[in-house]
């Protein structure tokens, strides 16, 4: 495992000052230090051939995969890059690197504890890799610590024995000198067949290092060597065992998480503490390209914090808003309680179910309205006033929700369209190459513009969630100004990209799109930086959630 830099990445309090720099002075920090440095430099080489220098390479859209730093011609130092205010430090591990990571931690602890390699690893697992707790307990009472975990400092290597006439397996009761058996340090002997079945069952249930001796209440851990010995003939189960070991490592540590993308086998290490998630959105981008929130494992939801996102999604899922709509837009027939939506016509209603005739305005029976057709004079009676007031209150809150939801939804749909746009863009790019005799590199600006678009769409989408929960004040107005600036520019860029070959000359279009992309990108950065600092400073009031 290389590339685990000692530049403060491991510091627990690293993020306190990470966000303090302003627009003018950006610090150099580490970000997305991909475990394998050889792989990282390889990526960089690729990026330099594929990306047109100065156009987009130093933009925020490749931030997390080391593909930037090509804007200027400084030597590219693998992992060093400008860190934006809203970005967090993290590392990506493939399964091999995860295994190496475990070995490394164990190797570091081994001389401290002075016990066998295997015992060290199992003890670490028993303590969920919390090295401080382990050392503290171990130093105060080493024997008790080991016994509690079901371990021995230097256990004899497990081996299958046979040739004891008195042996009888306590599981299947087969006996005799021919039976091969295994016993751990506790001395409980079981025949190798029963042991194998037992371990296989446990492994297929997802267990790995927690498997202990099958004897009742015996806490002695089977250990990794013994498991390997028993499963030597069964490669699938053995593979599963190794998988479970790695899985439990990632699951046992708060600072590790699996990338939630289907079939992705990378894990991410991120040290943004849980307590900071309300103001910092720990968005990480996996090597597989999936960008997600380390906190809630949901898709990248910058700039809305996790708790707000889960509230919002719950609200959108709930049918509470549907019932609100029904409440506002429909009335019940006084007689048969059928739900009625008035979609036209006069106030003289006739229920289709029970044929009751009533007035839509006051809900009273139509017969009482006498000859004053279409002019309900009962409108001002107290009871009808009250009813209408309660309706208008609900209507206001619903309208507010719908206002934000429409915009949120619009950007979500547009982001989907942007993905389609990518396909069209590729076609356009080919067309331009063919018709205008441009080189491949010269039409890349279109693709970059589409990338910019989809990132901005996602950000804009979540700003509406933030705005929905934000209490209206002057700060909110500033926030909304920033938001609408970005939104307007994004829509303009969208328009330019969708039909690039118009009447203008290619050079004009290219210049326009590139200018607009750069502008949008700047707006995007400004908005995110502003929101990040705003959240840290508690600049906005949010509805109590």
């Amino acid at each position: 495992m290389s590339g685990y830099n000692s530049d403060g990445f491991m510091d627990e309090d690293y993020d306190d000052d990470a966000f303090e720099y302003s627009e003018e002075e950006e610090e150099f920090g580490h970000n997305a230090i991909i475990g394998n440095s050889a792989g990282a430099s390889q990526l960089n080489n690729e990026s330099q051939t594929e990306t047109q220098p100065g156009v987009s390479a130093d933009g925020p859209f490749y931030e997390n995969d080391l593909l930037d730093d090509t804007g200027d011609f400084e030597p590219v130092l693998g992992s060093i890059k400008k860190k934006k205010a809203w970005e967090v430090d993290y590392m990506i591990y493939d399964p091999e690197e995860l295994r190496a990571k475990q070995v490394n931690i164990a190797a570091r602890m081994e001389p401290l504890l002075g016990i066998s390699k295997e015992a060290t690893r199992l003890l670490l697992r028993h303590y969920f890799w919390k090295e401080e707790n382990l050392i503290e307990d171990y130093l105060s009472d080493s024997e008790r610590t080991l016994a509690k975990a079901g371990l021995t400092a230097y256990p004899p290597p497990p081996e299958l024995k046979s040739g004891d006439e008195n042996f009888s397996c306590a599981i299947c009761y087969t006996d005799g000198a021919d039976e091969s058996y295994l016993a751990l340090t506790c001395g409980h002997r079981f025949c190798s067949d029963c042991y194998r079945t037992y371990v296989t069952g446990k492994v297929l249930e997802g267990d790995s290092w927690r498997i202990h001796c099958p004897a009742p209440k015996c806490k002695v851990l089977l250990g990794i060597t013994a498991s390997r010995l028993l499963l030597a003939q069964d490669n699938t189960v053995m593979e599963r065992y190794e998988e479970n070991l790695t899985r439990s490592f990632v699951n046992d540590l708060d600072t590790f998480a699996w990338c939630p993308a289907p079939n992705c086998e990378y894990a991410i290490e991120c040290h943004v503490p849980r307590t900071a998630w309300a103001t910092t959105i720990p968005v990480v981008e996996c090597k597989c390209g999936n960008s997600f929130c380390f906190g809630c494992k949901f898709d990248n939801h910058l700039p809305a914090p996790c708790y707000m996102v889960s509230r919002w999604l719950q609200k959108c899922k709930d049918d509470s808003e549907t019932s609100n709509w029904i409440k506002v837009n429909t009335k019940e027939c006084v007689k048969c309680k059928s739900t009625i939506e008035k979609n036209g016509g006069c106030n003289h209603m006739t229920c289709r179910d029970c044929h009751y005739e009533f007035c839509w305005i006051c809900m009273g029976p139509w017969s009482e309205h006498g000859q004053q057709f279409y002019n309900c004079n009962r409108f001002n009676e107290d009871s009808s006033k009250e009813a209408r007031e309660s309706i208008s209150k609900t209507r206001q809150s619903l309208e507010r929700y719908i206002h934000y939801f429409t915009r949120y939804n619009n950007h979500e749909q547009s982001a989907k369209l942007a993905r389609k746009l990518l396909a069209t863009t590729e076609k356009n790019m080919e067309q331009m190459q063919r018709e205008l005799a441009l080189s491949w590199i010269e039409v890349q600006f279109l693709r970059d513009a589409v990338d910019v678009l989809s990132v901005c769409r996602s950000t804009l989408k979540w700003t509406y969630v933030l705005a929905y929960y934000m209490v209206a004040d002057n700060q909110k107005i500033i926030f909304e100004d920033n938001q609408s600036d970005l939104e307007m520019a994004t829509e303009q860029l969208n328009g330019l990209v969708e039909d690039p070959i118009g009447q203008d000359t290619v050079d004009d279009i290219k210049r326009k799109i590139m200018d607009k992309s750069t502008y949008v990108k700047t707006r995007w950065e400004t908005l995110l930086r502003d929101i990040t600092t705003g959240l840290q400073e508690n600049r906005w009031q949010f509805e109590t959630l």
Binding site: I171, C172, Y173, D193, P214, A215, K217
Partner: protein, 150 residues
Amino acid sequence: MSTPCRRRLMRDFKRLQGESNSGISGAPCPDNIMVWNAVIFGPADTPFEDGTFKLVLTFDESYPNKPPTVKFASRMFHPNVYANGELCLDILQNRWSPTYDVAAILTSIQSLLHDPNPTSPAHVEAANLYRENRKEYTRRVRETVEESWE
């Protein structure tokens, strides 16, 4: 057909027959060795004394690596027995060891009758009475004892 599970169940049966006077008995169904009927006699000096409580044990081929399903066929009033007869017993769930056999299971259940665990109740009313009104608890248990004779 002989499988490790069936061979083991035959051994269990022999061992159970050897344990006389221990207040437990059981036997596989004549036509299916995977289903057993068992009887636990209520332990002396408990409200369950003199009761003959019937149980059904259902095994599958994963036995003895996995525990059987155990259910009371008689009506029970006990903090750790659900109303439908299923019981909440650690050795039948996460504390299972493949070395347990039918005799061990029945003995454990017998001692559970003797020693209920009201902190993780499967039957809330029984648990509350056991803690707060032992007299009423005893009366309700005695009702089930009398029912068990029928």
